[in-house]
Structure formats: structure tokens, C-alpha cells
Amino acid sequence: SQTIHQWPATLVQPVGSPLSLECTVEGTSNPNLYWYRQAAGRGLQLLFYSVGIGQISSEVPQNLSASRPQDRQFILSSKKLLLSDSGFYLCAWSVGGLAAYQETQYFGPGTRLLVL
């Protein structure tokens, strides 16, 4: 069966510090991968998605970046965190391929980030 891991579960970082959040998927190959952010009491905001190694699509221009160094690994980074980067970060995967838009997304447990 497939599983998705995210770490860390919670993170408190000072403004201006770097960020690296990691997401890995097990039990599937060539998945589509997604990074979302959810501010307190708000909806899901898609940040990045990837359909393959090294292929990243950005949805929202900001000081975050994403990378996919391996098929089942997705990393969210920032060089300098802002207060507004606080939120709940969720990684998700779906079956890849041309019909990927039809597929269910499976979410990780999330990382709660607080920037002070």
C-alpha cells in the first residue's frame, strides 16, 4: 500500500531563517506531487506541483521554492522566511500520467510552521 511521509510535524523558525520541508511517498512510482499551504481557518492554497523528477510548476510567486530530486521525494524550501509564511503545509500525491487530473489526491500528515 502507499504511504506518504512529511517531516517535521511542527517547526518554529525565526524570521529570515531558511526552511526545508521534506515529503516522501512509498509504494508507488512516478506520482504527481503537490505542496499546499493552509493558513489558519482558510482553504488550501496550491503552491507547487510536479509531474516528474526535476519538473516543478509554481502556482503562487513568493519566496518559496520546490525541488524534486528523486521520483518520490518532494522538498519545499525558502532562503529567508517571512512572518506570512506561517501556516500548515501539506504534501499530497496522486497517480501520474495524462489522466492525472481525474485522480484522487492523498495527503500527508502536514507540517505546522510558525515564523516568529
Binding site: 488550501l44 496550491l46 501539506l90 499530497a92 481525474q102 484522487t104 489526491q105 492523498y106 495527503f107 500527508g108
Partner: protein
């Protein structure tokens, strides 16, 4: 742009009643809509998918409808229980991604 709109106000109902949540979309009808459940501090969990050519889909106490004329999907939970309390998200398909609504919080009182 394609938008998904859900009632941002919480829905409060009594245990045993039927909860009905609404999802409205703009522009052209999506090929399908998906519904997810999200508990506080957790990632969303997939519940049901309904395709454009399906009027209704059922799964245990859950029922989803898709009305392309009204550009609306309704999500019903029959015989609701306090354990059904959560935020329910609607999503429409886009190229390689889903577009989520902001979700509606459901509170079921014993």
C-alpha cells in the same frame, strides 16, 4: 478562472439529522468533482468522486449530487453523528491539479 465556492459559515445540526453541504462552481462544468473531509490538524481525506454524467453517487451514509444546470454539487450525510464533525472540502479537476474550495465546517451536536 475556475472557482469553487463553499459556504464559509459553519453548519450546526443535531445528531440524527441529515447534513447538506453546498459546492458551487463557476465557468464550464468540470468533468468531475471530489469531496474530502479534513479534521483539525490533519490532512484532507478523500470521500467521494462524482463525474459530470452522474447525477448521484452514494457511499454508506454519504450522498453526492451533481447538477450541471445549477453548477452545483450537494453533499449529504444522513443520520449524522458527532463523529461526522469536520470540515468538508469540495474540489474540481484542473490540468494536472485540483482546485479546492475553502471548505464548510460541520458541527453535529449530540
Amino acid at each position: 478562472s475556475q472557482k469553487i465556492e463553499q459556504n464559509s459559515e459553519a453548519l450546526n445540526i443535531q445528531e440524527g439529522k441529515t447534513a447538506t453541504l453546498t459546492c458551487n462552481y463557476t465557468n464550464y462544468s468540470p468533468a468531475y468533482l471530489q469531496w474530502y473531509r479534513q479534521d483539525p490538524g490533519r490532512g484532507p481525506v478523500f470521500l467521494l468522486l462524482i463525474r459530470e454524467n452522474e447525477k448521484e453517487k452514494r457511499k454508506e451514509r454519504l450522498k453526492v449530487t451533481f447538477d450541471t444546470t445549477l453548477k452545483q454539487s450537494l453533499f449529504h450525510i444522513t443520520a449524522s453523528q458527532p463523529a461526522d464533525s469536520a470540515t468538508y472540502l469540495c474540489a474540481r479537476g484542473g490540468f494536472q491539479k485540483l482546485v479546492f474550495g475553502t471548505g464548510t465546517r460541520l458541527l453535529v451536536s449530540p
